[in-house]
Subunit: 234 residues, 2 copies
Amino acid sequence: MIGTLTLVGVGPGDPELLTLKAVKTIGAADVVVYPQKPGEPSLALSIAEAHVGVDAVRMPVNLPMKVEREPAQLAYDQIGETIAQLLSEGKSVAYLCEGDPLFYGSAMYLVERMSIVNIAIVPGITSLTATASVVGRPLAARNETLKILPAPLDSEKLIAELGQTQSAAIIKVGRHFDRVRDVLNQTGHAANAIVVEHATQARQKITPLADFAKDERPYFSTILCYKGDEAWGK
Amino acid sequence: MIGTLTLVGVGPGDPELLTLKAVKTIGAADVVVYPQKPGEPSLALSIAEAHVGVDAVRMPVNLPMKVEREPAQLAYDQIGETIAQLLSEGKSVAYLCEGDPLFYGSAMYLVERMSIVNIAIVPGITSLTATASVVGRPLAARNETLKILPAPLDSEKLIAELGQTQSAAIIKVGRHFDRVRDVLNQTGHAANAIVVEHATQARQKITPLADFAKDERPYFSTILCYKGDEAWGK
């Protein structure tokens, strides 16, 4: 009897934003896998830790963010083999994913390399809706288009996409902040844009884009953009 | 002491996809408000019912989907006044929202009409991530743009938006199904498109778009679109 691998979305940071299904799945798992950089705490584990079974094996994995390059591929191959071995032993494996496993998650890079039949997904609260909830403003309503735009996209592409939309969320901002701010100034979205760092976590910070000093940059942030003044809460 | 209104996302349908925070908020509420059409069951209540306190007042509301028209405005005004009265009496009010309150939710139309200071939001699992989880395919990865496109948008707009993107979700499909299918055939997204009805509910149905008979139409569905063959799980 082969075991089951479940990708469990643990949400954006607040442990209360775990779903009942996530709690149940994590508690029943023989092995709990979670991303962790060497020497750093694991956000995913910290969110879920209270629910990990006392007898469960904890397996931190250091997955590179980019899967294309050679060392990254080796890391994914190794972790994939380890999990496949656990499944062949009939173990239930819960793989903790920050946010939602299928919304820009990196666990899917692992799974797409494995030939797994018994895979289940527990959806999680995304950073997107978490960000909106702490700001208290709708992401989109009625028949508006909502665009999720990764900041590493080139400026031309970002400008083209933003030009046609009222509501957008810029994710993966990081070192692209200065360029993204320039883009938003150019497209008219800057005035109502709000930068949210670490939504729902203790270190959460909400700042209007306009209030950032020239040399200041947010980290792990999402920028919610609204053009016009129709959004609720203005 | 004025009470608090909390918009509580109850997720897509599976009661296990409630968050711990939603369960706690619902259980502690003096009054639980939920959308319900006359003579029909309330999906939001059915998801949350096990957690409603025994002494809580249950308050079904029949909110029109469109807020612009005259009778709808009266309905919103009345419900807004009722809730404002409850808050002035110090009551805690939980307003149950299918999915997430700020992701195309209709409760926000109510809130934007009220002058409320004490409002809290509990984010919920969206139909978007729920749909992806039951299909088992990523919504978006790496630096892909993800677009949420309401089906009532005119075909020209849909075609323009889809032309520039690999990953999109068409929501609010309903009576627009035939036209949306034509659009997806035209943009090259039809071959990999999957129609999901009632994701995570007992009546859930997953059908490749190509398998729909000419006169058949899905109801309450989301269509996940992928162009190209890069998506995992193909």
